[in-house]
């Protein structure tokens, strides 16, 4: 199974990482380094995708959060 995460700002992709097994059942993790902020704050979106092409099974979830200088 492949689990990855992509970081977006205004729908522009900023970064993509592979998430690794976190040592707890069904949990995967990783780290993003946040970009600089030009305004009072920016809203970023992260999209996590899971895929297993052999079965095939796919899934995704996303969330947004605020970034300040």
């Amino acid at each position: 199974m492949n689990v990855s995460a992509a970081l977006y700002h205004n729908d522009k992709p900023l970064d993509e990482i592979l998430l690794r097994y976190a040592g707890r059942t069904n949990v995967f993790d990783g780290h993003f380094r946040m970009p600089p902020v030009q305004k009072d704050y920016e809203v970023l979106r992260v999209v996590v995708s899971a895929s297993q092409v052999e079965t095939p099974n796919f899934g995704s979830h996303q969330t947004t959060f605020k970034l300040v200088p």
Partner: protein, 161 residues
């Protein structure tokens, strides 16, 4: 044949919704919505919820399957059972949507079949399979605020439906 036209016959059937490469989609993930629709008129003949347990791991995930063997219809396993009063053979579409507790993972599957008055389809019943993972971002939460340049720890859970 005359009986078909005059006396409605109770016709019971079971629908089971399973996860591709996993078990029965049960109440733990919110179960599924099941709709029985007349294939020609599109009238909804029955609808309800598929709830219960996820079935027996042994029979679903471990043991080799033989034709006619009970795999999913074990004690407490999730199912939706309906009874229609039919006067004639009826073409239906069976639609299942779930898991209802995870909108981001919601999938839908359907099949078509005939229902024949008085001919029950219980036990394993009609089996619909949904593909997918329940992906859930645990951190960061959507209300969190981060400083520029800082590393952000991302954690997600991934499991079969």
């Amino acid at each position: 044949m005359e009986r078909f036209m005059k006396d409605p016959s109770p016709t019971e059937f079971t629908v089971r919704v399973i996860s591709c490469d996993a078990k029965v989609i049960g109440s733990l993930v919110g179960g599924c919505r099941v709709i029985i629709r007349h294939r020609v008129t599109q009238e909804v003949l029955a609808e309800g919820f598929h709830r219960g347990g996820s079935g027996e791991t042994g029979s679903i995930m471990k043991q080799p399957r033989q034709r006619g063997a009970t795999v999913f219809a074990t004690e407490g396993a999730a199912a939706y059972t309906a009874c229609l009063y039919l006067t004639e053979p009826t073409p239906v579409e069976i639609i299942a949507e779930g898991p209802l507790a995870y909108p981001q993972a919601l999938q839908r599957a359907s099949t078509t079949t005939w229902l024949i008055p008085g001919k029950n389809a219980l036990g394993e019943g009609f089996i619909l399979q949904l593909h997918g993972f329940i992906v859930e971002i645990m951190t960061p939460a959507s209300v969190e605020v981060f400083g520029a340049g800082a590393p952000v720890h991302l954690e997600a859970s991934v499991r079969l439906l």
